[in-house]
Chain length 281, copies 2
């Protein structure tokens, strides 16, 4: 299995604190030694850092910690390989273009009977069930919406139905983002938390690090973090149920399962890439 | 305009020496202040580091120099923007999947009348003529070969014909790689050099750095470097002619323009990703 970490924020935010906790689980406090990766969106562009080496020993992971990059949408993953060898092309997250946006995907779990799923021209490069599932999702989305869709609420409803199908094939915990929305889907292990004013202190579980969010934020900041297991010991993480999904938009959780989706402000214009403040999570 | 740097090698090779020369031109010895990027292949996977900041000041560029990554195929670019604003999504190189391989592209030059070129479902994310030209190339390739082609000689002949069409729209100097082949196409400024035994010394033009390749290589190593302008002052760089292309396969230049292509060993099996030696170029 693997561990996932996602972030959605309303201002470009440094994920260094949470990432520091996560990477300890890549070989030190956890068994996920088979590589790690993190993708940060900046506007419509993204940066990805990846390494098939254990994150607790990775020099590139040290870099990510020491030169923090600020983003409103982040997806990260540490890997304990089941399907596919330990190599760069099998390391999550995976990013592909669809509808003129970059979509980023990471998966925790294991699927069976996935090999024959139709991916069309979205062909996997590596050998994982995860990348194949992502290619299948993209193929399904493109088949349903050959032109870029306007109503994203409809799109995410469709993604949820596709995730339900993948969950029938095994364990499928997922994070997916287009840089504006961050979506999480749970089969068994996924937690989330939204931090906003009044901000408090937090302590990492995996490393002796404490942070005072009040010193790092402004009262307007809203930041949500999604993780396979809670990263802090003194905060109230919400556990997602099997089949539950969450949709986050610039920090706020705007929908969970289908009933709520019709009430949320979808297809909002993309704000610019200004960085008025720089909180840490 | 911009500057390009490409490398093809028969063993995983550290491009640190050449990259050190290139990044000085990103704001210090050259005017290319509008971002930089570098993609390294490792097997079928790749890593990309990018920054819209000038390379001579970029902390991420310092990292790439201090944690050298070894690869057999590298494409790098420093940008002086003409089409498209200075931001991450407009920063080269661009990488997209086709036929289950990652293709990486960088362009130096400027095109006119490119806006209406048909890109199919390979939609640009940013606003550059370069990314649009890359999407058009991919669309043309996929239209001609809906299934992964076996005979790569035919594919590169077709790419050359497509490049000839792009050259009719302006200045089109290009580097393209699938991790196994590195292709260069010249409109006006592109040089190449192949280094092999007996290896000698080399001095960077843009920085006071000298290297003794003999100390860094084995007699079997073959490494080719392609650049917009020569990077060393004491070696014999070959200038490419307008409309000329070069095709490099694990260090060796195996073809230039169409006549030679039929004689070269295409569709060779991909070797594994072992690193017997680690030369620097």
């Amino acid at each position: 299995m693997c561990e996932l970490l996602g972030m959605s924020a309303n201002v470009p935010t440094d994920i260094c604190f949470s990432f520091t906790g996560l990477i300890q689980r890549g070989g030190r406090t956890g068994p996920h030694r088979d590589g790690w990766g993190i993708a940060f969106y900046e506007g419509k562009g993204f940066r990805t850092f990846k390494d098939p080496a254990p994150s607790c020993q990775s020099k590139i992971a040290q870099l990510v910690q020491s030169y923090p990059i600020k983003s409103r949408a982040v997806i990260s993953h540490i890997r304990q390989a089941n399907r596919g060898s330990v190599c760069l092309e099998n390391t999550h997250p995976f990013t592909r273009e669809l509808w003129g946006r970059y979509w980023t995907f990471a998966h925790n779990g294991q699927l069976t009977g996935y090999e024959t799923m139709e991916t069309g021209h979205h062909r996997p490069v590596g050998q994982t069930d995860s990348e194949l599932a992502f290619c299948w999702l993209l193929n399904q989305l493109e088949h349903r919406y050959p032109e870029p869709p306007v109503d994203m609420s409809e799109v995410f409803r469709f993604v949820t139905a596709l995730c339900d199908q993948l969950r029938e094939k095994g364990v499928f915990n997922m994070l997916l983002s287009d840089g504006e929305y961050v979506m999480s889907y749970c089969t068994n292990h996924l937690y989330w938390i939204t931090r906003q004013a009044p901000f408090g202190h937090a302590n990492l579980i995996d490393e002796d690090v404490e942070i005072n969010f009040q010193e790092e934020t402004t009262p307007e900041d809203v930041v949500s973090v999604i993780a396979t297991q809670p990263l802090t010991g003194n905060e109230n993480w919400q556990r997602m149920k099997p089949g539950e999904y969450g949709l986050f938009h610039f920090g706020k959780r705007i929908a969970t399962n289908q009933a709520e989706l019709s009430d949320v402000p979808f297809a909002a214009p993309r704000p610019g890439n200004q960085a008025p403040t720089e909180p840490l999570v």
